[in-house]
Symmetry: C2
Subunit: 345 residues, 2 copies
Amino acid sequence: MVVESNATTAESVVTPERILQLGLGFWGSKALLSAVELGVFTELAKGPATEERLARALELHPRSARDFFDALVALGVLERNENLYSNTAEADMFLDRMKPSYVGGLLEMANARLYSFWGSLTEALQTGQPQNEAKAGGNFFETLYAEPARLGQFLHAMTGLSMGAHKAIAAKFPWGRYQTFVDVGCAEGGLPVQVALMHEHISGGGFDLPPAEPFFREYVRSFGLEERLRFYSGDFFADSLPQADVLAMGHILHDWDLEEKKTLLAKAHDSLRDGGALIVFESIIDNERRENSFGLLMSLNMLIETPGGFDYTSAMCEDWLRDVGFRETYVEHLAGPDSMVVGLK
Amino acid sequence: MVVESNATTAESVVTPERILQLGLGFWGSKALLSAVELGVFTELAKGPATEERLARALELHPRSARDFFDALVALGVLERNENLYSNTAEADMFLDRMKPSYVGGLLEMANARLYSFWGSLTEALQTGQPQNEAKAGGNFFETLYAEPARLGQFLHAMTGLSMGAHKAIAAKFPWGRYQTFVDVGCAEGGLPVQVALMHEHISGGGFDLPPAEPFFREYVRSFGLEERLRFYSGDFFADSLPQADVLAMGHILHDWDLEEKKTLLAKAHDSLRDGGALIVFESIIDNERRENSFGLLMSLNMLIETPGGFDYTSAMCEDWLRDVGFRETYVEHLAGPDSMVVGLK
């Protein structure tokens, strides 16, 4: 038996486990996306359920329902006590469709669109061409803005998704120095609402395409902020931007190519009063381009989704801001992969 | 400014970041799969390269090559020093096609097949039906075994994938008590080779379908073990298994339904001499079904790939082993998500 004992040193050999976990990581990811699509978390928000009851409510075939639910337990989004499944606190807050904090709209979109489009990543890398609806002559934004129900869901998902960044901007930016604020590409108005809630002296609103207006109005009214926050309707390439002390652009610039990015930044500079500030925020890539994997992958998502969009480092953004005339710039981390780059006019 | 400072407590709010990272986890996973498909690691195994040289060698469009390479840096599979990209030690060992330790064949298969089939996970969960080639009337195993080049690559990928488990079995099982060993569903013979290398008194070989024979012979000969290890040709449902002191079934049982699993276990019991042992190993699910997410997701992969296959806990396997006549059973962890369940006749 001595042979066997000595031989256990063979175990310390390098294994391919981490590589395989990453390469097969789409399994766990797709399991969560299907769970959101099927409404697992919305169902369990009503109360804990047995495998049988949950499978029946979701109309799942009995063959793999238990494996599916237990995989979600192992992935940390469900809990199981005795034979009852329930949501984790995190899943209950963010994945129950009935709660205002729901972010599953983004995951529903990822499940219905991005998962399959990313299947063509290799072709995207070889051709530099988008792999979404555009490949078949479609246009995601046109389709999205043409269907109010779908648009509302999408805009609401964006609000949930950016909540951490919005609260951090409301907390970290020196709002005391300014009076008026407009968020450019505001969707439902998640950022103006957070800023207005935390800073009573601020008024302004949000700028977006006309179809976003009813969703903005409804969201702002739900906080009783309709006296201080209004909707500015327009197209940020065709029209000029509203005048304000502070403007923001969140998850906007990465959709566009370099020339378009600079056009938008110059328009913002034009609309700010002297002494005003522009806040650019999204998953800004670290300057060394080796830490923020989410930001780098988001840039590949812009390859999949847009003709020329890309994500960028804070150093690149600061250069562009100075190029279009901002006198001073600085960078501050917000939440998760998001940072803001601030330009002072 | 006091208002801003106090307000930073808003940051400690729960964020949806972990859920979004999991839900969008397919981005990083697909980036690695595309990198393997494109031969990034095989190219860099020749030596470090600049972005331009690497993009040219791989015929990538310049638009997103740098984001792609830097995303692979952030994901921990490439390194970058100055402007030169190179493989991590792990990627160089397991993702260079020219090395015998290459496991990319499995990831190539996942990229070419499983990624898109998993896109139909929701339908699989609703119907209980496979979502692979079978959906269009095809048969993966028949197609695989009909093309020798593709089969060779697949079998070799299985060897690399299971190397950690094979070395652990060679080290942990009490081989001193036995003389002969046959691995059932042996592919190239990775397990018999590891056992024979570590235990000079062991002889035997591997059992698999006839098309696997040339790959087994070549692999075994590359270790100079052809005198001790032979190929047993057959179909484990149509034919009886070879007689031996020890039999093994690795990553076999999960392909089949409960009745088929028990048929295979009973056949193994029949072919063992009294006092012999059967080693069952794969990503055995923990008995609590809440830790081994890989094993649980592998079971969903069996839903995607087979009409009735599923993964199982060690307790389930021990029950089946006793049902077919084994007098004693035990469980031992091997490497990563793999464990073995041993039945003693």
